[in-house]
Symmetry: C2
Subunit: 224 residues, 2 copies
């Protein structure tokens, strides 16, 4: 992940604006690791100083005031799935999407189920609005509701991983969402398929190097 020796301006590394605990940042870190893309991290602390995503400087970069954002090939892309689709189109191997269009559709459906149907409803900004005393219950409810659907879908699509035996964008979305579920103390016993796939994925190197506990901005007491 260190900067490589480089003789021209054009070999500038991609820059990922990331927060160690952000599940959407983790998605992109997994994708970059999977594709073997070297990059630099600029940590954006979503808590400190009232949230570094709200600075003038960061807003210019990403008006959504969210991480992740990736500077690459002269553009800045926000939204983790849009970033992954771009990486897939410009650096196709190893694949994040299967070759068969129908399998691609299933991978994207699972990814969107997590990225639109679960994560946004339990992210930091929503929890702030829900109020401290209701946060845990709210998060548990939305994750449980999403996982009920996800478990059913995965029962018919999964092999070793979410869709068959190849790691895909769906897996990249799954693992950080399961970590969120654990953080909010969701009972995972009704979800054997989700749990099984999650365990298999966490054993892979690319899910480990990208893990929230191993980032440059991970606080010392959370490191492993």
């Amino acid at each position: 992940m260190g900067r490589k020796w480089c003789l021209s301006f054009s070999c500038e590394l991609p820059v990922l604006y990331s927060y160690f605990r952000s599940s959407c940042s983790w998605r992109v870190r997994i994708a970059l690791a999977l594709k073997g893309i070297d990059y630099e991290i600029v940590p954006i602390n979503l808590i400190k100083d009232g949230g570094q995503q709200f600075t003038e400087e960061f807003q210019t970069l990403n008006p959504m005031k969210q991480v992740p954002a990736l500077k690459i090939d002269g553009i800045t892309i926000g939204q983790s799935l849009a970033i992954m689709e771009y990486l897939e189109e410009t650096r196709p191997i190893p694949r994040l999407l299967p070759q068969d269009p129908q399998k691609r559709a299933i991978v994207r459906m699972i990814s969107d189920l997590i990225a639109s149907g679960i994560q946004p409803l339990q992210n930091l900004s929503v929890l702030k609005q829900v109020g401290q005393e209701n946060q845990m219950q709210w998060a548990q409810k939305v994750i449980t509701s999403g996982f009920n659907a996800l478990e059913k879908i995965l029962q018919s699509t999964a092999g070793k991983y979410c869709v068959g035996d190849e790691v895909s964008m769906a897996d990249v979305c799954l693992v950080p969402q399961v970590a969120n579920a654990e953080r909010f103390k969701v009972d995972l016993s009704p979800y054997p398929t989700i749990s099984h796939i999650n365990k298999a994925l966490l054993a892979l190197e690319v899910f480990q190097v990208s893990h929230p506990r191993r980032q440059p901005d991970t606080p010392a007491e959370l490191r492993t």
Copy 2:
């Protein structure tokens, strides 16, 4: 939209499970119209009988208990963006995504901003949890926050439409979201770019035939 004469099983029309007012269903109706794909609609009323999306039969079809879902080519796909990506890959012309990978990234970023960053936070199931008396204020807050970002982004990407002068997936997401904003009485005057693009898009036939006011399940008093 009527069933065409057909001599074999394989020319069965795609079936869209849709609710007239669902903004995600509208997205898919626009995409189908844009690509000139003939289809049948099965209306799923999200309000009546406590919500027809909760029936045993519909849950088997889409465990997320949400519309839209599209039965096509022998599979059923949920999640509007996954559906659109599948249509784009299997019926590429006319395009929903530009050819240039960087422009595709921008189109997907805008689409995801709406589909993950705005719509899920103001959909029916969340508003139910927020409670009747807070719904309007909640919806206004999340839409305003998203539109502040969107307006800034569009100022640098827009031509006639969201990204340049060709209709794309970003436009397909924009129009139904603006309709939601109007329904929740969001003041649109701070968003001249959004408003301008929305007006240009609503003048197009494909946005009109797919409009919530012109669906088979639109109540008589809302029809135009």
